[in-house]
């Protein structure tokens, strides 16, 4: 079972560069989430989606964009990378209302 797959696992970006963090799930889940986790901190919600074509902002959306063209994929886009975006990014998905969220293994991003 693949579950939630994130790529890449690690990435170093220069300030001002852009990149897309990929997230794919094969569980036919409607709900998908992007979080960032700074050292010693919990998870902060960046964006989430309740289904294909529907996305909404979380707690810390500035500097990021998302799209949800299919049920399976929920990519996160950084347009102009800044050092403040250095973090570990987790994608998660959830099937129905009263079920737990499953997490990908994370992407460690460093912006220098």
């Amino acid at each position: 079972n693949a579950g939630v797959t994130q790529t890449p696992k690690f990435r170093i970006l220069k300030i001002g560069q852009s990149m897309t963090l990929q997230c794919t799930q094969d569980m036919n889940h409607n709900y998908m989430y992007w979080y960032r986790q700074d050292p010693g901190m919990g998870l902060k919600l960046i964006y989430y989606s309740v289904g294909a074509g529907i996305t909404d902002k979380g707690e810390v959306p500035n500097g990021y964009n998302v799209s949800r063209s299919t049920t399976e994929d929920f990519p996160l886009r950084l347009e102009l990378a800044a050092p403040s975006q250095t973090s570990v990014y987790f994608c998660a998905s959830r099937g129905h209302m009263n079920t737990e969220a499953f997490f990908g293994q994370g992407t460690r991003l460093t912006v220098v």
């Binding site: 989430y33 309740v50 209302m97 079920t99 990908g104």
Partner: protein, 112 residues
Amino acid sequence: EDKVVQSPLSLVVHEGDTVTLNCSYEVTNFRSLLWYKQEKKAPTFLFMLTSSGIEKKSGRLSSILDKKELFSILNITATQTGDSAIYLCAVQNQGGSEKLVFGKGTKLTVNP
């Protein structure tokens, strides 16, 4: 704004001790509260709580929810070094938004 507050933020105990981790929340349209354990990588699911006063138990871990006072506790008895981790509390809301909001976590260190 939805809020999840965990305490303490950090805790150091000796093997064999019993610990209680706290999670309080303020969220519109509460659906459920979840506990996760995070070691080096992605969070792994422990419990989901939807009803007040019903204890969920798994081995040495147990958790209970109080929907009137808006909090939950996670108990770990006879702690082991393998329990060292960050314990995350999250709250799901309902009614269209379906956000999943996390607290900052409690970092538990169990020393031999």
